[in-house]
């Protein structure tokens, strides 16, 4: 299945992926309006130390500990994509406790959020990938 892969050699640490992610999941149709004066809480996050940087988002693991550990049955895997039913989630953060990549985080409402490969929003394909100015994030099927 297609997954997001990052190449830290090409990452500029510009955080644009974070902004594209926040916009894609904002439900708004204008990026400036969606993000103006907003502290963004994206589902992809840049790690940066000195001159090394890279983006981290859900790996959509074949053996997803978050799905197995979720106490509410709110996290599910379907056709390889792991998504969260935020209506069922009670915000206990067991998924945050168990994800080895640190790729699940609290949302503004207190329940958990994660990358769903833009499969649940209007974009349909990952906004971070198309928004990366240097090709450091790709969406590919590598088996």
């Amino acid at each position: 299945m297609k997954r997001i892969y990052v190449n830290e050699k090409w990452c500029l640490g510009c955080h644009l992926c974070e902004y594209h992610c926040a916009f894609a999941n904002s439900g708004k149709d204008n990026m400036a309006k969606a993000l103006k004066d907003v502290v963004i809480n994206p589902r992809i996050q840049i790690e940066k130390v000195n001159n090394i940087s890279f983006a981290v988002s859900c790996r959509h693991c074949d053996n997803p500990l978050c799905v197995k550990a979720c106490i509410a049955g709110a996290l599910t895997i379907k056709d390889g994509v792991i998504s969260i039913d935020q209506d069922k989630c009670v915000g206990c953060y067991t998924c945050i406790m168990i994800c080895p990549y640190g790729a699940v985080m609290p949302s503004e409402t207190g329940v958990a959020q994660k990358c769903e490969l833009c499969s649940q929003n209007s974009l349909g394909s990952p906004a971070c990938v198309s928004g990366c100015p240097n090709g450091a994030i790709v969406f590919e099927d590598r088996g």
């Binding site: 997954r3 892969y5 990052v6 190449n7 830290e8 790690e47 130390v49 090394i52 890279f54 983006a55 981290v56 790996r59 500990l65 197995k68 550990a69 106490i71 509410a72 049955g73 209506d87 069922k88 009670v90 915000g91 206990c92 953060y93 067991t94 998924c95 945050i96 406790m97 168990i98 994800c99 080895p100 990549y101 640190g102 699940v104 985080m105 609290p106 207190g110 590919e140 590598r142």
Partner: protein, 411 residues
């Protein structure tokens, strides 16, 4: 192949999904004491405060048994296991034959033999949906509630009824709250947070005697109440195995494949004893992630697979009246602690391994810590200074980062 699962909670779901990952055809029968669809037990506190409802707290969708081609016998109690004839005998006398059996009977609240405990007018435990429904019906805005036990169950109960009662007093014999999960400093921090919200605590005290509406404590105080919740601990339900000669009173022992000492009988969940890789000791890890992973491993092996579950550790994630608390592992070793207003971080290391942590407030990316403990990652293979600062993948080597994020295959 005929599979029988006794119990219908997390471990049972793991087992069904584990079996079906290998065997799509064998007959699965689930025997459940409770009269309902599989639901999430820890969600009963969220049921009381309205953050979930009966529909949303279903642990798996309505068509779960159907999709997995499993038969649910709900409201049925397994009375006995006949190991000779390989069948489970129900209360009705009906016999269910098995080739592979899973015991996932969980645990029951322990009711301590305190003088007068049977004379309490409104006495509750807090483990099951029926417990929560009973409490939900009885509680009124004028109710004074006494909770005996300041562990997770007692505190989640307090959160569930918070704002719905006139007052909530929590008594525990330990000198601090959540004694199995927090250390003294973090327990004090959480306690003071909860007190500011309006909960009252009486610690280092036991109940000497109950009357219908009062408790006389060992420190001489008397607490008047309308409702008492007994949450002092749980006992594993192991009678079925004890009855056939297993030494399982304090929990069922299994191998890493989750098979018990009796061939073809497996066990998973709160009724079992786990080996905690963070402390190197055996204990009951009554935690949902553990129950699922045990159940899944058992299921795969019951279906002829070769699965092991060998990295169990204690771990807890919860919020108490808005304050996030995430902990994992054990706390014996060298400590690194950072504190702030409603913020606490303690990292424990020993002999080149990450052993445990307590995070309160900022719990971001805690799973990176958990994974270091579960995988027993030698600390000299990562940049631990970065890990001390915060959980981050930057602490791993470039090759490891490429494996984690860049699609580089493990060699």
């Amino acid at each position: 192949m005929k599979y029988v699962i006794i119990g219908n909670s997390t471990a049972a779901a793991g087992c069904i999904e584990g079996i079906r990952s290998i065997d799509k055809k064998g007959k699965i029968t689930v025997v459940s004491k409770e009269p309902c669809h599989i639901y999430s037990r820890p969600l009963i506190s969220y049921y009381l405060n309205g953050k979930t409802d009966l529909d949303k707290m279903k642990y798996r969708p309505d068509n779960f048994y159907e999709t997995n081609n499993a038969e649910l016998l709900s409201g049925c109690e397994a009375q006995k296991i006949d190991t000779e004839k390989k069948s489970v005998i129900l209360g009705s006398g009906k016999k269910i034959p098995y080739d592979k059996l899973l015991i996932a009977t969980g645990s029951d609240p322990f009711i301590p033999p305190i003088k007068g405990i049977d004379s309490i007018e409104n006495k509750f435990t807090f483990m099951s949906l029926s417990d929560a429904k009973a409490l939900d019906e009885k509680i009124e805005s004028s109710s004074r509630v006494l909770i005996v036990g300041a562990g997770l169950i007692g505190l989640k109960c307090a959160e569930g009824i918070f704002g719905r009662a006139a007052g909530i007093t929590i008594v525990d014999l330990a000198p601090r709250i959540m004694p199995n999960v927090l250390d003294t400093d973090s327990a004090n921090m959480v306690q003071s947070y909860l007190e500011k919200k309006g909960l009252s605590f009486i610690l280092s005290a036991t109940v000497q005697e109950f009357t219908a509406n009062s408790a006389l404590l060992s420190n001489g105080e008397t607490v008047e109440f309308d409702i008492a919740v007994i949450a002092v601990g749980v006992r594993p339900n192991t009678k079925l195995l004890c009855d056939i000669g297993c030494d399982a009173k304090r929990g069922i022992h299994t191998d890493q494949r989750l098979e018990t000492e009796i061939n073809d009988i497996y066990a998973a969940g709160d009724c079992t004893v786990s080996f905690d890789v963070s402390s190197g000791g055996e204990k009951i890890l009554a935690l949902m992630p553990n129950a699922y992973l045990q159940g899944e491993t058992a299921g795969k092996n019951m279906a002829g697979g070769q699965a092991v579950y060998a990295n169990a550790i204690p771990m807890n994630a919860t919020k108490l009246l808005g304050l996030p608390i995430v902990t994992a592992g054990s706390y014996e070793g060298d400590e690194y602690t950072v504190t702030g207003e409603n913020q606490y971080k303690k990292l424990v290391t020993k002999d080149n391994y990450f052993k445990g942590y307590i995070l309160i407030g900022d719990i971001a990316r805690a799973g990176i810590y958990t994974s270091l403990i579960m995988e027993r990652t030698p600390l000299d293979t990562i940049d631990f200074e970065l890990i001390k600062e915060k959980p981050q993948l930057m602490a791993f080597s470039k090759t490891q980062r490429q494996q984690k994020l860049g699609g580089l295959k493990n060699v």
